[in-house]
Symmetry: C2
Subunit: 526 residues, 2 copies
């Protein structure tokens, strides 16, 4: 709660500043009862939720749409629209563009950077959850065409009998939606194997900010006929339009999967281990996840997963979870066994020990160690989460430097920051740096930002590897993107959305943004 | 020669029409001796080739830059610039933009659609061949950063001792350059395994049409900080800027590769065979190439590669080349052997017979059958080449329908069209339809176009799967892209290149293009 209040204060201060220096930026309008009457011509009454008008609902009913799942970001939209067709989305957007009403597109609302929550600019929320049909699947080519509001898990379930899997996988798979996955260019544990959505998405259907439907819902694996416009919407976090349909290439289900948890004597073993794994496991290596000692202990302490015995953990500086997926179990197991024997047989072994899963329960339990870190962190305290891309060799340095920074500021200890831990996808160069505090405080935030962003900038890294910018990091974009790039992002934004109605306040840093509405006192947070 | 003259005539006719209906489109300027003097301030004299000025060269010296390798497209640029640095490219482009001089960016000039050849708008050619340095390689992550003018084969050679390979591979690898590969989003035989350049390219350095250097040369595998602008330049064929540097993810070298050529009793076996191969070979399947009977016979007749004996070929309607690449030879061979035995052991076998390569020579020879088709076709006659994406099930229908169309027009036979053959990448849904004629004639072209494009449109396919649009297919874009998409392509073009200097006449269909220069009589061809 504190974080969000603090956040609101900061944003409000900024907005005043922008308002004075960018007075010409047009403010957006609030939704009125007249607008509601118009929406009622587009949607059936049950698909309009509003605190306004004759059929108004209590604001608590809008709460799940106005807040993110972490409870960190809060908006105060009066109106949620839940269209069922692309045409309905188009009509809503066209009207909002004419009326200059901001729109927050929302999928599963599982993001980590506040990208799917309103920012107090009077936005309506367009929730895609009612667009949840599979439109087409071709088992020969593996192409799947689905509505944007399909929940990832439901698509996985749909594909299973056809022996295909989704190329993406996240902890939030039970809630997140494929349109949101694409809008945020979500990464996840399968990226190492199947590549990013920029490669696997074959086509998109997008409602542009003027209401036009851009139909690029191709199912072709190859199509070199001009600019690949759909790529702009992958990772645009809904600021250039609303994705309403997705065509995606799904891989065949692997016949067999195995995993192992390995204890490393020292971080220095990590890179040689990664290189050895890439060489010996090559095409069957499907995950290579890093877990530092602090993250491992946290996960075990809070009962997440099970792997090594306390004796086996002794003397380990960090851990690696390896997963293989392949076409024939006996081949995969032979490769994995040989790899582990080879590792342990070295004169100066890269690992202390390891456990190879023997059955589905152990397999799940080892993954539980890795996937349970998020929950363990939130059980332990309040988390400041940074999701960064840096050189693999710097993973430990960055965690250590952050801890040292907090120590120097006197902020390390049970009263303030309890843990600074790191884990992530080595194969993708993606570190999750988590700072676990007793409370969110301005002092801790001031010690961390811009410190972490500057550190990332020094390594020419990315301040957001896979979470996106949302509202959390828009102001820090310049640590990862140079001026020319930001300028061209603005030009693209202005070309598609000259009135700035699409997910205002997200992705791009302040100058081009609308000021918060002057007439809403507690604009940002509930 | 005939084709190019015919082409010139057609283009000239069009240009007059555009000139009258779009009189406001600014014409581009010719290069003058004053301009040359300015270029001499940017580049050393040996890097300026021009038929103008005091150090002029014979126009024959410009011939390799003014014509494509097939001898199908001819330009008449007076000036070729060969910069060595990004800064030099930037200065050239900035000047040309101010002076409204058109620019044709040129890499290895190995395209198939005339995209790298001038179109008679007085363009200069900027050849990237002098920018040929590897800037950086990281063996842990596999990221390679290279100048755009690096020849693909030289990058492959550079990576070999580091046990990595390029994610793309083409017949033209000895000449084509990585910048051109990206600009044209080239596909090739490795796409099935490693995906498209939209996924493997991590970053680009691009000189924009106003001379600004857009540095997005990231080496990060994951970076979700805003719009992925680099994607726009992948496949833009140099119409939005000049790619000067490329950062690309290179995969580890496979430890073992095998291949086999299979004879199929009927086209109907093809799809079940593909599904079986995907299931049984899964992650080691690295190529699945289709060759119809006509293409196979042509390749053998002209001595390209060697596979099956004449007896084995008997009764085969088509052929498939399968390649596997994996991490352990004995595992891969076991999988491939089991797969072939399984195929032959069926009650109604999907294949008549097959040959599995036993050594490197046989491996190369089997690939020779497939890769030799292009050369065999050009030895046989003059080829009309269509590179299309269509549903796999329609590969044969499209070839048959095209043959039937030519038969109906009385154009089938030794005097006109000798062969209509099909081959291509089944895994990618990409068919190469080749019509081999005694001569290029307007009658044959009229029978083929728009017939083939309409056929592709009917299947919601792509008129250019991997070759691009260039000058050949720009006018046919609407068969693959709807009006909204084309309109947004234009908006993007106008945003980046309002003066229309970048590779004019390519990619986008006529209306927005500059008219040909009124003062050059034989504008298009030499």
């Amino acid at each position: 709660m504190f974080a969000s209040r603090h956040f609101a204060r900061r944003l409000a201060t900024r907005s005043r500043r922008w308002a004075s220096t960018h007075a010409s930026t047009p403010a957006l309008n609030q939704v009125t009862e007249e607008d509601l009457a118009h929406f009622a011509k587009i949607l059936s009454p049950q698909f309009i939720l509003s605190t306004l008008g004759s059929s108004s609902v209590a604001s608590s009913e809008l709460q799940p749409f106005n807040s993110d799942w972490m409870g960190k970001y809060h908006g105060n939209s009066t109106t949620v629209l839940r269209p069922r067709t692309t045409k309905e989305v188009s009509e809503i957007v066209k009207y909002c563009n004419e009326r200059r009403i901001g729109i927050v597109p929302q999928g599963g609302n599982t993001g980590l950077v506040g990208g799917s929550v309103p920012t107090g600019r009077g936005e309506i929320i367009v929730s895609l959850g009612n667009m949840n049909k599979v439109r087409h699947f071709d088992a020969v080519s593996g192409t799947l065409v689905a509505d944007a509001g399909c929940v990832l898990q439901s698509l996985t379930d749909y594909l299973a009998p056809h022996n295909h899997i989704m190329p993406v996988e996240f902890g939030a798979k039970g809630s997140c939606m494929i349109g949101g996955n694409c809008s945020t260019n979500a990464g996840g544990v399968r990226l190492l194997r199947y590549g990013s959505l920029h490669g696997t998405v074959l086509g998109l259907e997008v409602v542009l900010p003027d209401g036009t439907i851009l139909d690029q819902l191709s199912t072709l694996r190859k199509d070199n006929t001009g600019y690949d416009l759909k790529q702009l919407f992958i990772g645009a976090e809904g600021t250039l339009g609303i994705i309403t349909g997705v065509s995606i290439l799904t891989p065949p289900s692997p016949q067999a999967s195995s995993n192992a948890i390995l204890a490393l004597p020292s971080f220095d073993s990590l890179l040689p281990l990664f290189q050895t794994a890439k060489r010996e496991l090559s095409e069957i290596l499907s995950a290579f996840e890093y877990i530092d000692r602090g993250a491992y202990d946290l996960s075990v302490r809070h009962g997440q997963g099970r792997g090594l015995s306390p004796e086996e953990v002794e003397g380990a500086e960090c851990f690696v979870l390896i997963e293989t997926s392949g076409g024939r179990r006996e081949h995969d197991e032979e490769k994995l066994n040989d790899f582990l024997e080879h590792l342990l047989g070295e004169e100066k072994p890269l690992i202390n020990t390891g456990v190879l899963s023997q059955d589905a329960t152990q397999f799940a339990s080892i993954w539980g160690l890795r996937e349970g870190i998020t929950e363990a962190v939130s059980k332990e305290g309040k988390a400041y989460k940074y999701d960064i891309s840096i050189p693999l060799s710097a993973f430990k340095q960055v965690v250590d430097a952050t801890r040292e920074q907090l120590r120097e500021k006197g902020l390390l200890g049970p009263h303030a920051v309890k843990e600074v831990v790191g884990y992530g996808h080595i194969g993708d160069g993606n570190l999750h740096l988590n700072v676990v505090a007793a409370q969110y405080t301005p002092e801790i935030e001031a010690a961390l930002e811009p410190f972490v962003y500057e550190l990332v900038g020094k390594y020419k890294g990315s301040i957001s590897a896979e979470h996106g910018l949302g509202v959390m990091k828009a102001h820090a974009l310049h640590y990862s993107k140079n001026e020319v790039s930001i300028e061209w992002m603005r030009k693209i934004k202005n070309l598609f959305d000259p009135n700035g109605i699409m997910n205002p306040g997200k992705v791009l840093p302040p100058p081009e943004h609308q000021p918060l509405l002057a007439n809403t006192g507690s604009a940002t947070t509930a």
